[in-house]
Symmetry: C2
Subunit: 221 residues, 2 copies
DNA sequence: TAGATTGTTAATCGATTAACAATC
DNA sequence: TAGATTGTTAATCGATTAACAATC
């Protein structure tokens, strides 16, 4: 088949917003929504919403709208979160522990397959139902568990080494919490999460009243 | 002055990337960089880098490049992270605790001014150097501490209530970790952090080999 | 049927890239 | 000076918005 136009990354990011919203609507017992309703709930314009979905097919009924449950399931299927996927976490410090305690795993059908660290003081420790394993086990375990996604929750200076290990173990997708640009092979997808960067952005936005005027040259008084 | 064109948000987001990179370079003892070097270190193209800076003024020397320390300080000044800013955290669970333990606060000159929760079991608890305070103290404390930025690290169903309280307390910038679109007045800037959304994106990207072709209609076999 | 709302096309807008004159 | 690299302008590209025919 002639390659169709690829889905814009921003559209893909919004898909997560939609499904999150749809999960909420389902819990609230709402049966169907219009693109207008979605605009109210997500802040994404109705036109944008319909356009985003159009990259993937047809999801609604003209004159009617969308069935909440159906749409949720169709988007879940697009994102491939309609089946269980194993994820390995490297780093069992404060961040790793908070990730383990995160309540959203199940609704997205992600499963923490194993947790690793390299600190002897931490290895063997139990966190919830997990026992922290030695990082040297990573390769064997990842293969055995069939995990393809990994999370890096170690200090910056250890991140690249961990990334290399994950790649060697067959991981093809990484969420990186360390403030470090990772060098990885082409076939590996990396998403950076930088909490402090959000705070820095906020600092700018809060201190430059949004009207959108003057970007405040630093040589201004 | 005639209002200059506003800075594109993506450019602003990259500024965080640049400063993070420059901090690293400074630690590594690198004195100066070219836009080419920055491309290697950050993955952002040299042209993009120069264009982004151009929204704010001139930062380099033609034929030479940029002084690492100077550029870092100028960007810090643009983002207004060249002076201490107080931040309040609401939610002292796993996530709140991990945030408190986060090592990056100081280099961005953010200061955790206070930590709040509404659970009697948690109020009074010490986490590092902080004593968790009753959420009812939020308004008084925030005013007293002069905090303008707040972090929401509570469950989804409590997030809106906390947001309302933060706004009432005079907070104008919020980083929201709860999976909930917040309703806030115009003047308040909200940045959502959605960890599980990153994972969902990754799921799509990993399962749709990147070439960029066929977005996989869900009615495909 | 009339009213509503989708899916899609075309028009607009904005961001990225490429190219180059300025200048260190 | 010659070589390097910036800052900026113009060209390209891609994403968002608006509008509307299709249709429930």
């Amino acid at each position: 088949m002639a390659a169709e136009s690829p889905v814009p990354l921003p559209a893909l990011e919004r898909l997560s917003t939609y499904i999150r919203c749809l999960m909420q609507l389902e819990r609230d017992g709402v049966a169907s929504v219009s693109s207008q309703d979605m605009e109210k709930h997500t802040g994404v314009s109705a036109a944008q919403f319909r356009k985003d979905l159009s990259y993937f097919g047809e999801f609604g009924k003209r004159g009617i709208g969308y069935r909440v449950v159906d749409l949720k399931e169709r988007i879940a299927s697009l994102l491939e979160i309609d089946r269980e996927q194993s994820v390995v976490i490297v780093g069992a410090g404060h961040l790793g522990s908070a990730l383990i305690a995160y309540p959203g795993w199940r609704s997205y059908r992600f499963k923490i397959a194993a947790v690793f660290d390299r600190e002897p003081a931490v290895i063997g420790k139990r966190i919830r139902q997990y026992t922290v394993q030695d990082i040297t086990e990573l390769e064997d375990q990842t293969a055995r568990l069939g995990a393809r996604i990994g999370i890096i929750a170690v200090p910056a200076w250890e991140a690249q080494g961990v990334a290399d290990r994950l790649v060697a173990a067959g991981i093809v997708g990484i969420v990186n919490f360390a403030p470090m640009k990772l060098q990885t092979p082409e076939h590996v997808v990396v998403r950076e999460v930088c909490f402090i960067c959000e705070l820095a952005m906020l600092s700018y936005l809060v201190n430059h009243p949004a009207g959108g005027s003057e970007p405040a040259h630093s040589d201004d008084p």
